[in-house]
């Protein structure tokens, strides 16, 4: 049995751990998960980080690696699609639709930095299309990533925020707080892509495993959609 190192975007860490546990059980290989922000991973990979696979939080960075010839050609695919949710820990604060943002009865709206995180870009798209982007500028607090954004909201410092469905799935199901799962049609899909960085058997096996239907179900159970 051998060991592979997998660099994973922070928001997918829980899911990948579940996946790799199953993979390890099936194959006896070991999967070492390296969690981090996608920008950091990208910089590190370009400077020789010893990773076999890179699960990014977006599509852009894997594409870049592909173009720059760092990634193994033709290995790139979308492993999950994130879903954006407007969520508040308060009951009956967010309802289906964007009305709460129009009413503006809040001090802070949290979202991920649109420059850095695809969830942020998606949130920005929605705010722009509803004409709120400029109005809310002074009330927006931006997390560096979606994890931090969730903490802003969950700690109550921001009344509501655009977070990932995967972060609040359990809470929504147990009717904790209030949420609006934003229809996929209203923003560019948050495609999270993966590339192979080092060509070896186990890594390819793991990618194949992630693509398998069983895995897809598992991924969806964590709150992602699959393509």
């Amino acid at each position: 049995s051998s060991e592979i190192r997998v660099a994973v975007a922070s928001n997918f860490s829980e899911t990948i751990k579940a996946l790799s546990t199953r993979f390890e059980e099936q194959t006896g290989h070991r999967v070492v998960v390296v969690v981090g922000s996608t920008g950091k991973h990208y910089a590190q990979i370009k400077h020789g980080a010893p990773y076999d696979i890179f699960f990014a939080a977006d599509k852009a960075r894997p594409e870049l690696l592909d173009e720059e010839g760092v990634a193994i050609p033709l290995s790139r695919f979308t492993y999950a699609v994130g879903q954006l949710v407007l969520w508040s820990p308060r009951k009956d604060f967010v309802d289906e639709g964007i009305t709460v943002l129009h009413q503006g009865s809040f001090r802070y709206l949290a979202l991920a930095n649109p420059k850095l995180a695809p969830y942020g870009a998606a949130a920005k798209e929605i705010l722009q299309s509803s004409g709120l982007w400029d109005d809310l500028r002074g009330r927006m607090v931006k997390g560096e990533n979606i994890g931090q954004t969730f903490q802003f909201v969950q700690s109550g410092n921001a009344e509501l925020g655009f977070v990932a469905y995967s972060q609040v799935k359990a809470r929504i199901e147990s009717m904790e707080g209030s949420a609006w799962v934003i229809p996929q049609s209203s923003y560019t899909p948050i495609e999270q892509q993966v590339v192979l960085l080092k060509d070896n058997r186990v890594a390819r096996d793991f990618l194949a495993f992630v693509r398998s239907d069983k895995s897809k179900i598992l991924i969806e159970s964590f709150g992602y959609r699959s393509l």
């Binding site: 920008g39 931006k142 802003f152 410092n157």
Partner: protein, 227 residues
């Protein structure tokens, strides 16, 4: 490559934060350091340990706990609310609190050493020359500890400028309010805008270097003692 307007805002904000934090730290730190240097209290070592403690937590984690504390359900948040104030998260004041907390040991420790090095004799002499404890503290202890103050101020100031994790967590990256330079640079790096990152870093380094050099040069000039 020019700096964007928001970069300049961030720059100014950063220096303001560092200056305010340093001042507060010197004001708070001086009596604490004096007490630590002079007291014969048996349990002094407990306080010494406590003061160095914020150092060992990763700043982001420290920031996370601060965020939780400041939130409406956190003890500090409740306290603020009780006093009728708004939450401090995502405000400049909040940043100041976080930075003060985080940079505390860098200010207190050099001051404590400087005070201890003075010994009791100069204070005794001042007492026989009619100087009250306050008076002699300001006219004898402070001037004699000036090297310690310089070190404390430099470490505190520089550390606040480079401060990142705490600010990231409780700042919310609001331009002009809480978006400081370190986060701006970080964002550029994460967003792969390397040349902007280089410019900002270079500028910050140059500016800081000039400032530090001036401080040290002045200090060397004013220095009295036999080295």
């Amino acid at each position: 490559m020019m700096l964007s307007e928001s970069d300049i805002t961030a720059l100014l904000l950063t220096f303001k934060l560092a200056a305010v934090t340093t001042c507060i730290l010197l004001v708070i730190g001086t009596p604490v350091a004096w007490w630590l240097a002079r007291s014969r209290c048996r349990y002094k070592f407990i306080f010494e340990g406590l003061i160095a403690l914020p150092l060992v937590l990763p700043p982001t984690v420290l920031g996370f706990y601060l965020l939780v504390m400041l939130g409406p359900n956190g003890p500090l948040g409740r306290l603020m609310e009780w006093f009728g104030g708004a939450s401090l998260a995502f405000t400049f004041s909040g940043l100041v609190i976080g930075s003060v907390f985080y940079s505390m040991p860098f200010v207190i420790q050099p001051l404590q050493n400087a005070f201890a090095a003075i010994g009791t004799r100069p204070m005794e002499v001042a007492a026989t020359l009619r100087a009250s404890p306050f008076d002699r503290f300001f006219t004898v202890a402070l001037p004699l500890a000036k090297h310690g103050f310089l070190t404390a101020a430099v470490l505190g100031f520089a550390h606040t400028i480079g401060e990142f994790g705490v600010v990231l967590m409780i700042g919310g990256n609001i331009p002009g309010e809480t978006q400081v330079l370190s986060i701006a640079i970080y964002d550029h790096v994460e967003a792969l805008e390397y040349s902007q990152a280089h410019w900002l870093s270079g500028g910050l380094l140059l500016l800081s270097f000039l400032m530090l050099m001036t401080v040290y040069a002045l200090n060397g000039r004013l220095s009295w003692g036999r080295t």
